[in-house]
């Protein structure tokens, strides 16, 4: 009966019904509301005027001077740039640090692998805020990083907070938070790798690096792409790291959105920033799917 249900096209839609309903109600409708709000006028007391206006998007690039003329204001573009830069850099560092870890784990005997993978996921077991506060202590003045840096003279007395509240602190927070999301998919794809290919490569005059570059990495690409997406997308929208480790002056897009809905009470602008953020996420997902389909096709051919 249930098997018969999924066999006709209509039956299949019916079977998917609950899932479609959930996606529709909890994802598409809120998304629609968000886009709609982004095209409305703000109401200074919170909420919106139900009136079409692109002003939120204009505000992202321009501001009004005293004569009410629009002048270009790169402030928000800086925030966008900082978000993209930090998320990109965090992704790169996660890959450079995570790939060797995944490789190391996959070369262990099977019973050790499970333990190591479990260890990689441990940070997820602790509350995100608690982990961020731990970093405040580690990175802050007289912390374990600050003290030796001062002692070595790398950090002068003018840096009153150590490296806390700098871009570096945000970066460290992002890398720390999302590193397991890079390691796990890479590990999954390396685990399926036929290691005899590594032998074949060394037989054909490849040293370890050449084998890695020409055999292992190409075959692990699906996992690498997945890791890159899993790190880049949430890192782009992250606001906890920036808020707690970056201080009040170093906003990321996520903070900007949060700010508009809380203190600034500019819902349309917050929604517009969220839409812009979403566009970058969708673009990177599209790039991911494209790349993955290309390599997937090659691998399955």
């Amino acid at each position: 009966m249930s098997a018969g249900l999924t066999e006709t096209p209509a039956g299949r839609w019916l079977a998917l019904g609950p899932a479609l309903l959930v996606i529709g109600v909890f994802m598409l409708v809120p998304l629609g509301i968000m886009v709609t709000i982004s095209f409305m006028e703000p109401n200074v007391y919170g909420g919106v005027h139900r009136q079409f206006s692109p002003s939120a998007y204009v505000q992202f690039l321009y501001q009004r001077d005293f004569d009410d003329n629009l002048v270009f204001n790169p402030g928000y573009l800086y925030i966008l740039g900082r978000s993209l830069g930090l998320a990109g850099l965090a992704t790169l560092i996660c890959f450079v640090a995570g790939f060797p870890v995944a490789w190391y784990i996959v070369r262990r005997p099977p019973h050790q692998r499970n333990v190591l993978i479990f260890l990689v996921t441990i940070p997820f077991w602790t509350n995100l805020l608690i982990r961020a506060y731990a970093w405040i202590i580690i990175l802050g003045r007289d912390g374990v990083i600050d003290t030796p840096l001062r002692w070595l003279g790398v950090m002068g007395p003018e840096a009153s907070n150590g490296i806390l509240y700098t871009n570096w602190a945000i970066l460290i927070g992002l890398v720390y938070t999302y590193l397991p999301l890079m390691i796990l998919p890479i590990y999954a794809s390396l685990e399926r790798l036929d290691f005899r290919l590594f032998e074949a490569a060394s037989d054909l005059y490849s040293n370890k690096w050449a084998s890695m570059r020409h055999v292992v990495i190409p075959l692990a690409l699906p996992g690498i792409f997945a890791g890159v997406i899993l790190v880049f997308v949430p890192a782009l929208g992250d606001f906890i790291s920036a808020q707690l480790l970056g201080g009040s002056r170093r906003l990321m897009l996520g903070n900007l959105v949060q700010l508009q809905f809380s203190t600034a009470r500019n819902w349309p602008f917050g929604a517009a920033v969220a839409v812009i953020l979403l566009l970058f996420v969708v673009a990177s997902m599209a790039a991911y799917l494209r790349l993955n389909r290309k390599t997937g096709l090659e691998l399955s051919k």
Binding site: L197, A200, D203, L204, N207, V215, L219, L299
Partner: protein, 372 residues
């Protein structure tokens, strides 16, 4: 290449490969397993050399030591006179055709073949022409752009061969490359491999557990059993002059008879078979008078005669028709069994009936005393 069968020429040249007292122990402590117990082996340049032995005898281990994938426990391996213990696989002028092919799934056929040449940083033009040449050699030029996953087993095998030959190694290692193929393809590939070996002049070290394959393709064969080399020789040597019981039994069919040595004269000994008959047999040095020995004689070297004419009396107890020949099973007086092969040529006298009294003679020089 012309002088490959010229023994004189080979004796002067240093061997391409030489194993001296090579021991390989896998694992350690309680789990330690000795896969090779001191192997000594010389392989000549331009030779088609085969390692033959049952499963688990250490053939792959020998090959992997040569390729550099395993570290030898003790002993030495020389490649063209140079010790290679510390050379990693990528620095050895040796390429392998793996039993499981191990083609790179993300690369096309042509890219697979080009892989070794690219790592050697050969010029692009040279790589292109060499790849085309190799693909033509294995008749795969029309499939150059396919991915390995789109090829049949035989085609993958040929790509693996082309990939290993492309960098012009001095030695090609082949680990049971034909075992995954069906009978027809396997026979075609045997001839192709022999042709390739002759055309390229590369030393082939070929691993198989199939004695037909070994006998039909090889210049020389080493027979392995339980991590020990049992005998090294030409196919003719192994078949007609087996050294010990394992080789006589493993290669072809044979009759094993118990006997006692009466006298020794030069390379030959006089024996009394357990049935009481006296015969002459070839024997290795070290077999002295009075020794209890096993003698081997091939079924085709046992000739059926009339009951009175033979040197040994026997009774026919069974017949197996094989087409070109028949195998007759005879019981001797002391109840030991001897198998006789008879050609089924037209006009040949009919086989006697089961139960008939017959006589047999052993073809001159066909009896060999085996070492235990």
């Amino acid at each position: 290449m012309l002088d490959r069968h010229d023994e004189q020429g080979h004796d002067n040249a240093p061997p391409a490969i030489s194993f001296r007292d090579v021991v390989k122990i896998y694992g350690a402590g309680a789990a330690a397993f000795t896969a090779l117990h001191g192997a000594d082996l010389d392989i000549r340049d331009n030779e088609f050399f085969t390692l033959l032995g049952p499963s688990g005898s250490g053939k792959t281990t020998l090959l992997r030591l040569l390729a550099g994938f395993e570290v030898l426990t003790s002993g030495t391996i020389h490649l063209f006179g140079a010790e290679i213990r510390d050379l990693p696989p990528e620095r050895r002028p040796v390429n392998t055709v793996f039993q499981h092919y191990a083609l790179f799934p993300h690369l096309s056929v042509a890219e697979n073949v080009a892989f070794g040449l690219k790592r050697l940083r050969r010029p692009a033009a040279e790589i292109r022409s060499r790849v085309a040449e190799m693909l033509a050699l294995v008749h795969m030029e029309h499939l150059a752009d396919r991915q390995p996953g789109q090829l049949s087993g035989g085609q993958q095998q040929r790509v693996a061969l082309a990939r290993a030959l492309a960098p012009e190694p001095k030695v090609l290692l082949l680990d049971e490359p034909l075992s995954a193929l069906d009978l027809k393809l396997r026979q075609a590939m045997r001839e192709e491999l022999q042709r390739l070996q002759r055309e390229t002049g590369i030393t082939f070290v070929f691993v198989t557990h199939d004695q037909d394959e070994a006998l039909s393709m090889s210049d020389r064969i080493a027979v392995l059993s339980e991590g020990r080399i049992q005998q090294i020789g030409t196919p003719d040597d192994l078949y007609n002059r087996p050294y010990n019981r394992f080789v006589a039994d493993f290669i072809g069919d044979t009759n094993l008879l118990e006997a006692r040595v009466l006298r020794r004269s030069g390379d030959e000994v006089n024996l009394r078979l357990s049935g009481g008959v006296e015969v002459t047999a070839a024997a290795a040095p070290g077999i002295g008078e009075g020794a209890q020995v096993t003698v081997s004689v091939r079924p085709e070297n046992v000739v059926l005669t009339g009951a009175e004419a033979g040197s040994v009396r026997a009774r026919l107890v069974g017949k197996t028709f094989l087409g070109a020949s028949s195998l007759l099973t005879l019981a001797l007086d002391d109840a030991s069994r001897v198998t006789v092969r008879r050609d089924n040529r037209m006009g040949h006298p009919e086989d006697p009936e089961t139960g008939a009294e017959v006589g047999i003679v052993f073809a001159p020089g066909s009896l060999r005393v085996l070492l235990p």
